[in-house]
């Protein structure tokens, strides 16, 4: 039976479904038309292809707007909206939520493709046809990823794409959907708290622009092969290629910065498969740029150039396959869910690989014969560096692809056990170190060589002199740097030398070129940045020092270095470690975020404090506050170093409600009744003494809530073993029949104390059951009640009491009574009020003496005051406590704190590398416009 559901916005889905179909069909039509139009540029096919691409682009923009609209308005009837936004998701994360899922991120990719395509549509016709053909083909594949069509093939059917406009009730079978008004009952799942930071807002668009832009070199290379014009695309595409490398590199660098700033592992690069695949594509692209430059400057055609650009693009597709197919499984810390798109992703990779290689091989004969280049020419070294970069990329991608190889082999041999790299970081670093050394040295000297080795004999002396001076400077710098950091192995010293060598050489190059031809200096800036980055890595990765390492702890089976990376910090107890006093001072919960305040004092040799600072790492609870979902580090940034800190673990009771309940449930409370002011031994060495009773408890947690009445007992606990005392105040609050308990925990003694509920009946007597006696006195007079002596010492015309709120027209007066019994002296202020001509009295209760006092009448003529006083019927001398022993601590954190020396050089170097690429790209772009 069909249910008529309330409040759904089905029109969104209709627009979405139709939009996807139009986008898919128009992309196919565009590709098809461009493919046919190529032979005759001005044919109708050409026009059709162009218009179909416009329609495709427009429908992609509509799809994005509609999905965004649905997310913005929390239309939870759509599964994608339900999965990624929630009522409490701040508006600033709405974009992050949009591209959190696979469908949204495919749309983002398509958005960039379409945008780039629209710009390139206005290229001269001989580029437009092949370039937009490639774009349209790509769009066919990407749009198919969000098609969401099931083909009834095989037993389970075959799914093409995952549609973002699917209704929640279409993919879930839950009893809730029997309710026509289910929408009013559900709230979205929201954005993963790990991703609720600004990085998630800026990193994906940049990265996807980087991904998207790699299609440009591919498309231009294809246009060359396709039209047999191997020359003209070289000039037309160069600034685009530089832009692509710059933006892709920026995306990778940003991801690295995100990891460093927001993850608790304490680093910026982990050789994770997700990082590796993007890096590899970037390295190949950079290699391609070097070959591109050879052709551009010398006219030498390079078959390899085409291969590089084909590979760079296919590697991006391959990275998409790796990250979205779920194949990485247990080799990556990144969690990507498998959405059943694996075969489509494989098809995407293979199509463009085969497509590219097919045209490349087909045009082999069109290439010029290669002539010999001189080893003293710049192009020779550009060529070598491209090869080295390709080698570097190959090594990384082969190792990263082990899970893929495993899967392929396992398909033929089911008994095959997969292979893994035992220690990835060691493995990658070992080989890439040599790549960095060779690349640095080549880039240092190649910039001072000339194309065609022209005038080599003339510049030879100058060149050799320069190399000599740079080497000497690099050696000096390497030595100077060693005063600040350690190299540990000669390989690292060599790496340092080569990095400084390229810094000095390219630095000189930049300065000399700035005067002559600014455009040429930009390559130098990138190379200079590369050198800086290497130096930054030597400082920050090789020489990082864990402050949070406690040398007093030795594991049984680990080396000292392994064991000492994390420390436990107990709140308020300073810990001395690695020349720092570290103190966990406090923590504050605001909303979902629990922020810690950790104080660091760096101490010099003679115990003087060199500097002091506070860091605030935090823990973020899940959207339903049931458990901690993420930890965020906090870093102190200085010019020469960073101090990184992260809480990596907290007590189980703080970590989740479930564990907290489990621990509480396992506690054994013993009931104990103790007379006030008496001491008892709880254990051999622990003495417990209830001091006083308060009807307005000062218990911190109690005071955050409002109750009609409350009771608190301050208790002194003395630990004879350590000779320390604590005063605690367990309390409860009463609201009608409900009793709220506020137990206290004595962390150091493992005790938890709460007031037994029995106290409620004995400490809150009903007025009607009391036996009031009347006393009439004048000011200054005394009278006796049992052992107590009561004296009316004065009057208060502005009385205050928690049960009394003054109103206009009130006449209120309080009598000040001093009451003495044995050594106890207390003051009571009962209040007499005349409100609306009616006399009223507010009772004052002295719990320690057990006296209830009312001022019931004032005789103004005789100046006498009438009191009603009753002795409490209960025994107020005892207090009943529930006490649990061996309670686990809840007041500590496990901290990781690391000093990263010279890390700023890493970021600065990275930024300079990208800046060099962007400057080159834009300067050429504007230069071209000027000429035309």
């Amino acid at each position: 039976m069909a249910t008529a559901y309330l409040g759904e916005h089905l029109y969104i889905g209709y627009i979405g479904q139709i939009g996807i179909l139009i986008a898919f069909v128009s992309a196919i039509l565009s590709a098809f038309s461009y493919a046919l139009s190529s032979k005759d540029f001005d044919s109708g096919w050409h026009q059709l292809g162009r218009w179909a691409f416009y329609v495709h682009g427009a429908s992609i923009f509509v799809l994005i707007s509609v999905l965004f609209y649905a997310m913005y308005h929390h239309f939870y009837e759509y599964a994608y909206v339900f999965d990624h936004v929630s009522d409490d998701l701040p508006l600033r994360y709405i974009l992050s939520a949009f591209w959190e899922g696979q469908e949204g991120s495919f749309l983002l990719w398509m958005f960039w493709n379409v945008s780039l395509g629209f710009i390139l549509l206005h290229k001269p016709k001989n580029f437009e046809v092949p370039v937009i053909l490639v774009f349209a083909l790509m769009q066919v594949f990407l749009t198919s990823m969000i098609l969401g069509i099931y083909l009834p093939i095989g037993t389970e059917g075959f799914k093409i794409g995952s549609n973002p406009f699917v209704l929640l009730r279409q993919i879930n079978e839950a009893p809730i959907f029997q309710n026509a008004d289910y929408l009013s009952l559900i709230k979205g799942r929201g954005l993963n708290p790990l991703l609720q930071n600004y990085w998630m807002t800026i990193h994906p668009p940049i990265t996807f622009l980087g991904f998207s832009s790699t299609i440009v070199p591919f498309a231009f290379a294809f246009s060359g092969l396709y039209s047999r014009d191997l020359k003209s695309w070289i000039e037309a595409s160069y600034n685009w290629v530089l832009f692509s490398a710059g933006i892709l590199g920026t995306g990778i660098l940003m991801g690295s910065l995100w990891a460093y700033e927001a993850l608790t592992f304490g680093g910026y690069w982990a050789w994770d498969p997700v990082e590796n695949t993007s890096l590899v594509a970037w390295i190949v692209l950079i290699g391609g740029i070097h070959l591109h430059l050879i052709t551009k400057k010398t006219g030498r055609q390079s078959k390899l150039l085409y291969l590089f650009y084909i590979l760079a693009f296919v590697l991006i597709l391959y990275s998409t396959y790796l990250t979205r197919s779920g194949i990485l499984g247990d080799t990556s810390a990144h969690a990507f869910t498998n959405m059943g798109l694996e075969s489509q992703l494989i098809a995407l990779c293979l199509f463009f690989l085969i497509f590219g290689l097919f045209w490349w091989i087909k045009r082999f004969k069109s290439f010029d014969k290669q002539t010999e280049e001189s080893v003293y020419s710049r192009e020779f070294w550009l060529y070598i560096s491209a090869l080295i970069l390709l080698l570097s990329a190959t090594l990384i991608i082969m190792a990263t692809s082990l899970p893929v190889f495993n899967k392929i082999i396992a398909a033929f041999n089911p008994n095959y056990t997969g292979r893994v790299i035992t220690d990835p970081i060691y493995h990658y670093n070992k080989y890439q170190l040599w790549v960095a050394v060779v690349v640095s040295i080549i880039s240092a000297k190649a910039v001072h060589l000339r194309y065609f080795a022209s005038n080599w004999t003339l510049i030879k002396k100058k060149f050799l002199l320069r190399i000599f001076v740079y080497s000497v400077l690099a050696i000096i710098l390497t030595w100077m740097f060693s005063l600040e950091i350690s190299y540990f192995h000669w390989q690292n010293a060599l790496l340092s030398f080569s990095a400084f060598f390229t810094i000095v050489s390219n630095g000189h190059y930049v300065i000399s070129k700035l005067k002559q031809d600014t455009k040429l200096a930009f390559a130098g800036i990138s190379h200079f940045g590369f050198g800086l980055m290497i130096v930054g890595i030597l400082g920050s990765a090789l020489n990082q020092k864990h402050i949070s390492s406690n040398p007093f702890l030795f594991g049984e089976v680990f080396t000292k270095k392994d064991v000492t990376k994390y420390v436990q910090l107990i709140k308020g107890r300073p810990l001395f470690s690695q020349n720092y006093w570290i103190t966990y001072e406090s923590d504050t919960l605001i909303g979902k975020t629990l922020t810690y305040s950790i104080d660091f004092k760096e101490v010099g040799a003679d115990k003087n404090v060199l500097n002091e600072f506070k860091l605030h790492p935090n823990a973020v609870y899940s959207n339903d506050l049931s458990k901690i979902a993420a930890f965020n580090p906090d870093t102190k940034h200085e010019w020469t170093r960073d101090v990184f800190s992260a809480v990596v673990s907290v007590p189980p009771a703080v970590e989740s409600i479930e564990k907290s309940k489990e621990i509480e449930g396992a506690l054994v409370y013993n009931k104990l009744t103790i007379p006030i002011s008496d001491s008892i031994f709880l254990e051999d060495s622990i003495v417990l003494k209830p001091l006083t009773i308060h009807y307005e408890p000062s218990n911190v947690v109690y005071n955050r809530h409002e109750h009609v009445a409350g009771l608190g007992v301050s208790i002194k606990i003395h630990d004879l073993a350590s000779d320390t005392s604590f005063v605690v105040e367990p309390a409860f609050g009463i609201d009608g029949a409900l009793l709220y308990n506020y137990p206290v925990q004595v962390q150091d003694l493992g005790l938890k104390i709460r007031l037994n509920e029995d106290n409620a009946s004995s400490y809150f007597s009903e007025d009607a059951k009391l036996d009031y006696q009347e006393y009439k006195v004048k000011e200054g007079q005394s009278f006796k009640i049992g052992d107590s002596e009561v004296k009316l010492v004065g009057l208060n015309k502005n009385p205050k009491h928690k049960n009394y709120t003054s109103q206009e027209g009130d006449i209120a007066i309080a009598a000040i009574l001093k009451i003495k019994r044995n050594n106890i002296e207390e003051v009571a202020e009962p209040i007499f009020i005349i409100r609306d001509n009616l006399p009223q009295s507010i009772k004052y209760f002295l719990p320690t003496l057990g006296l209830h006092i009312r001022l019931s009448f004032i005789d103004p003529v005789n100046e006498t005051f009438t009191f009603q006083i009753a002795e409490d019927i209960n025994n107020l001398k005892n207090i009943t406590l529930d006490i649990a022993k061996n309670v686990p601590r809840t007041d500590y954190v496990i901290l990781l704190a690391t000093v990263f020396p010279a890390i700023k050089l890493f970021w600065l170097g990275g930024i300079m590398m990208m800046l060099g690429l962007f400057l080159s790209s834009f300067s050429r772009h504007f230069l071209k416009r000027k000429i035309s």
């Binding site: 869910t337 594991g555 089976v557």
Partner: protein, 130 residues
Amino acid sequence: MNKGVIVSLIVILIGVIVVITSSKDVSTYASIQDAKSGNLVKIAGQLSKDKPMEYDAENNPNQFVFFMHDQKGGEVKVVLNKPKPQDFEMSEQIVVTGRMTNDVFSATDILMKCPSKYKNEEISIKDQNG
């Protein structure tokens, strides 16, 4: 022969050498039985939920002890030199990297596969209060 070709061949040769030498860095997932050789290995398995877990943050926050078993029926005590990972009890699969010494597996690294936190959840119902 063209210098470029020679250099290309050299680079390819280096690549081949590296691939051969790097085979030392690669290992298969070892069974607990295999790990007794004492080599640096990875073991994949599940947490033995019936055995005790030990994490004493006060005395050694860098050590977490638990038992795991693999599909071949082996069981081993694992000493991990890291704090206890979050959601450890919920893990479906554990991969530890380390060495076996005296029947105790000393792990330096751990990867866990957890049930996807956000995908398999039941449809959450609004709080009546909120």
